[in-house]
């Protein structure tokens, strides 16, 4: 059970516990006798309850008075967090998780861009960290991303909002290892089509969390931006420009081995 899940005391109640516990402790220090000892024990329990937000009594009674996540509808029409009571909503609501917004303008018609993106199996062709996306059943897809050291990160997602030639919104299924939600909007622009991606994700703890953090890098905006740049390049030019595999005079051992047989004096 992680720290957040242990919290079962509301914020105001936690402050009151701290104040009362502090007062009892001060009283105990002053008395230094048997009733004082009892006050010290009660004060310590209240201080613990206030500091950690966890109350064993509440837990025994099965009560939780913790505050609910406050996140309201953000970004109208983006489709994020439309599924009110899923755990994805709880984990990404308010200012929890990491939020990314990036946009790019592509000199192609909306419908062409929408169609390409809506076929999620196309996404790995321009999203560097995605290994594959496969459709499970209507509206549910299975995502596999490349993690560090050959590790794979997988999750299932579901389309929660879809307006043709306008918006696609998705979020991870309840119980997924990863909480993520996102949307892509398509808008007409004098320079072509403006494509805007909103993404949220909440890296869980442990190895998986570290792997996910690595995938999105230290600057998640930059990762999304590069993916969108590749989308634009692919849609406008039919390919993603590269220099990988071109010759150079770099003297790494590998380069030398490749060079030797081909060199013509």
């Amino acid at each position: 059970m992680n720290h957040r899940e242990r919290i079962n005391v509301g914020r105001v109640e936690r402050w009151l516990s701290m104040i009362a516990g502090g007062a009892l402790a001060a009283y105990a220090v002053k008395r230094r006798d048997a009733p004082g000892g009892a006050a010290a024990i009660a004060g310590a329990a209240l201080l613990y309850r206030g500091a950690t937000g966890h109350c064993d009594v509440y837990q025994l009674l099965g009560v939780s008075r913790a505050d609910r996540p406050s996140g309201g509808e953000r970004g109208e029409g983006t489709g994020i967090i439309a599924d009110r009571y899923s755990d994805t909503r709880q984990q990404l609501g308010g200012n929890r998780g990491i939020h990314v917004e990036e946009s790019v303008t592509i000199n192609r018609p909306i419908s062409e861009l929408y169609r390409f993106w809506r076929d999620f199996e196309n996404l790995p062709t321009f999203m560097e960290h995605l290994e594959s996306v496969s459709m499970r059943e209507e509206g549910v897809s299975h995502w596999v991303a490349k993690g560090p050291a050959g590790m794979q990160v997988e999750w299932d997602a579901r389309i929660i909002n879809e307006v043709p030639d306008k918006v696609i919104g998705w979020q991870s299924l309840t119980g997924s290892t990863i909480s993520t939600a996102g949307s892509v909007n398509f808008d007409a622009d004098p320079h072509g089509t403006r494509v805007t991606v909103h993404m949220q994700y909440n890296p869980p703890g442990g190895r998986l969390g570290a792997a996910l953090a690595k995938i999105f890098g230290e600057e998640p905006n930059q990762t999304v931006r590069e993916d969108l740049r590749h989308f634009k390049q692919l849609m406008e030019t039919g390919e993603i420009p590269t220099t990988k595999g071109q010759p150079s005079g770099r003297r790494s051992s590998k380069a030398r081995i490749r060079t030797a047989p081909k060199a013509r004096a």
Binding site: N107, H191, G192, T237, P241, G249, K262, R264
Partner: protein, 389 residues
Amino acid sequence: MKAVCWEGRGDVRVEHVPDPSILNARDAIVRITSTAICGSDLHLYDGFIPTMEAGDILGHEFMGVVEDIGHGVTNLKRGDRVVVPFPIACGRCFFCTHDLYSCCDNSNPNAWMAEKFYGYSASGLFGYSHMLGGYAGGQAEYARVPFADIGPFKVPDHLSDDQVLFLTDIFPTGFMAAENCNIQPGDVIAVWGCGPVGQFAIRSALLLGAGRVIAIDTVAERLAMATAGGAETLDSMDPDVFYKLRNMTGGIGPDACIDAVGLEAHGPHIDFVYDKVKTMTFLATDRISALRQAIHSCRKGGTVSVPGVYGGFLDKLPYGAAMNKGLTMKTGQTHVHKYLPRLLRYIENGDIDPSFVVTHRVSIDRAPEMYRTFRDKQDGCIKVVMQPY
């Protein structure tokens, strides 16, 4: 194949490297017949351009014969003789479709690097730092040309390599510099720098209707070439350049000023020493005495056109003079693709023969020596053309 590689500041070598291959559908491989050293290669040679890596293949002025094409290239075939523009342009983005080829949105795989320096990235260039694409250049036996359906431009067989090679960069660069001056019949145009770009700017300004061109440099053979091209000349080391320009124009100043010098300017005034000390101690990135003088000398309401290369943040730029005199500033990497048909017509009509600028023709094996000769302006060197075979 043989290729000229940048190995560090002041160090280029001819190395044996693997042959290039088709990497994308719209690529072509060109077997190079002629390749030139550009004045802007000297900025790389002298270490002024960031994000170079040892082993990078240099060269962005090259032409040759199409050797191989990817399946996405339908307008070229093996054996076509082509010149290759130095900016790489996709032909499909907003910028390319508005004739702003050197601003192509898609051709720089390392756009993120340029965005850190410049906000937005210009196009990728051949052999001109990783920030501007990291593409292997054309001072080699072969080059891979991306977006080959847009860049390579077929040239007729009756014109020699020397006559068409400079369509790749310096002729259109000098021409765009002149076009940016918005020349009206009879205008007086002052040109700082009589290197190859300056030479083409002089001739282009006259082609576009300028009445007089005043060329400013200090190297005798360059001034002589400018005179041959129809310009009057001034010595750039003369402390009275501003005063003389004013008197030559009846107290008005030139209608437009072209800075074809760029970030390694020399000058007779204290500001040159200031720039030199600051750039040597990494407190400034560019030496700008030519640009300062161009802004200072230009007439009110005139135009300052800058084909010269600048890299970073300019110190003591007299922007107050530009603002108060109501100057128009125009600059940019050249949109080569846009100018090719028109400039080829000038060559075919005999209006200009670009081969006038060539002073050295050598085998590519002599590249290291030629970089030095060109940089130090020794041996009357103005333009070096190399043959890879």
